[in-house]
Symmetry: C2
Amino acid sequence: MARSPNDSRRPLTLRDVSEASGVSEMTVSRVLRNRGDVSEATREKVLEAARTLGYVPNKIAGALASQRVNLVGVIIPSLSNLVFPEVLSGISTELEDTGLQPVVGVTDYSPEKEETVLYEMLSWRPSGVIIAGLEHTATARAMLQNAGVPVVEIMDVDGEGVDSVVGISHRRAGLQMAQAITAAGYRKIGFLGTKMPEDHRARKRLEGFSEGLAQAGIVLHDTEFYSGGSALLKGREMTGAMLTRSPDIDFLYYSNDMIGAGGLLYCLEKGFDVPGRLGLAGFNGVELLEGLPRRLATMDACRREIGRKAAEIVARQSGTASAESEVVELQPVLQFGDTIRKP
Amino acid sequence: MARSPNDSRRPLTLRDVSEASGVSEMTVSRVLRNRGDVSEATREKVLEAARTLGYVPNKIAGALASQRVNLVGVIIPSLSNLVFPEVLSGISTELEDTGLQPVVGVTDYSPEKEETVLYEMLSWRPSGVIIAGLEHTATARAMLQNAGVPVVEIMDVDGEGVDSVVGISHRRAGLQMAQAITAAGYRKIGFLGTKMPEDHRARKRLEGFSEGLAQAGIVLHDTEFYSGGSALLKGREMTGAMLTRSPDIDFLYYSNDMIGAGGLLYCLEKGFDVPGRLGLAGFNGVELLEGLPRRLATMDACRREIGRKAAEIVARQSGTASAESEVVELQPVLQFGDTIRKP
DNA sequence: GATCATTCCGTTAGCGATAACATAGGGATG
DNA sequence: CATCCCTATGTTATCGCTAACGGAATGATC
């Protein structure tokens, strides 16, 4: 059976409903949008007609006529990172009853693709844009600036935003972790993370981390980087590699929880004394960690909260002609778990 | 600094570019869409003008005029399930150079929300719809039927589709797993999974599984269901609960890999003999499993492939007035891993 | 019963782009 | 040099809907 646009071949329009119910198109439009005064009797008649015809309004035409689009563009690097779906979930929740709807674009961590995706989004004239990170191509920045709608850059506050910004300081997060680690007496410290030509937040964490170590007169002992593949497996492999290369290391700082979890599993299997002989910490505070044999030390990145707050700003500002930019810095909380020894 | 739509307050239109470059709007439109003959000289002039103005075309107007929208609606139950981002990734890849773009809607496993999301999507008149599952409300089915565009229902082939269908048979998957398990000599078998008022695919797997057991004269020994929370943790907890309640059980079949992984970690910690005394299996074949201490038996759900194929069908059929419905059944492969003993 | 406010619904004019057709210039052709 | 034919551009008429205004009933008010 082939598709049939309601028997005839022509898609339904307001006019069809109007004719079927014996009132003007305008009145139908009013009924369907719940706007303006319409008598209960005609309202019923129109709804009835729309329902039996199976009419679905054409938002394209509606948006063009009203100069209003109930969409919010959300641009993120990836969907498989676990972190971003959570941010999205925060956004959706907050937008739920504002009449706004998120539309997602994925950049795969590529600045060029980000530019393309942004262009594509803006061409639909959304009511606002939420975009991950503060680093964009010059063109992308210009587009954001000229978009004429609220823009919220999320995840990161270490840098200059175009309009509003909601996130945490990754530098400070790294620094804080370094302080906790050195306070706990660890001295030979290794870092494991993604190759970071484009992962600016991981880079900033590492910078902050190094700075924190420096405060205690310590220099990073060893580093290991990966890209692609199963993060859990990579964590395992990298940990093995690093401990083989530098057996005297006493702490491993992972740039995300997934590879941290892999490392933890590896260490437990090998029977290392965690956290006595070897401490471990990750980053993000993902739910996954709760099921591990031991709770990995980590830092909550406030993902849902970032989503909520960003969405709230967009919802509040959209509609207003122009509004003040806001900068919201959230405070991630260090969770010691069971993989950092108590000082 | 507040947002400024390119200095003035009025958003740019084709007319602005037209005036800036001294040609008609039509010619500008032609240049920007690479359509029709335009001399190299004017093409340059127009592009230059568009670039310096920072013009972004208005797709709303374009879509209305051309009756064409380069969007494909993709409706899935969740983004945090790991499975769906992978399907999406398959879709994106396949759509990459067709000029089509996926737009995602999430239903949270609620049929009502599915209906709403679908309505919303259709009101943008997409070129096609890809939707997870075969079970929809009557209204939703009607909308799909009348949409007048290609519809592909994905993930599942056990049932009647509206138009095209791409997926695997979950009944058969369950059945096949049951056969493998009984062939390996396991007899007292437990099932652990989500509460499934709405998870039809998990339900079908369980049905097929029970049927497979019945073929060997076996009845499911015990079951345990959960909802919400960290799947890894739940897997752990449910496994503990079941083994306490039914200590003589010798196989645990999990409805997804994540809870399976939790169960596996639990069993290893407790020092159970896996797969000798106790066998384990999950479902999906997620990448995560590669990093576990032992490879969990599972069945690949062909997620990327489903996405690709569905997108391919939509891409091929969109534009055509009406086309034949296709049904594609993919074959999941049983991966024994290290948690089923060799027969 | 004239005036006026309400309530309800219709009319008109776009929104910003594109499809389809029209047309102005050259060459080429005989 | 008249005709035809391209190529490169402009004109006109929508696309389906909504904003803004208009106006006919109805009832209230003095």
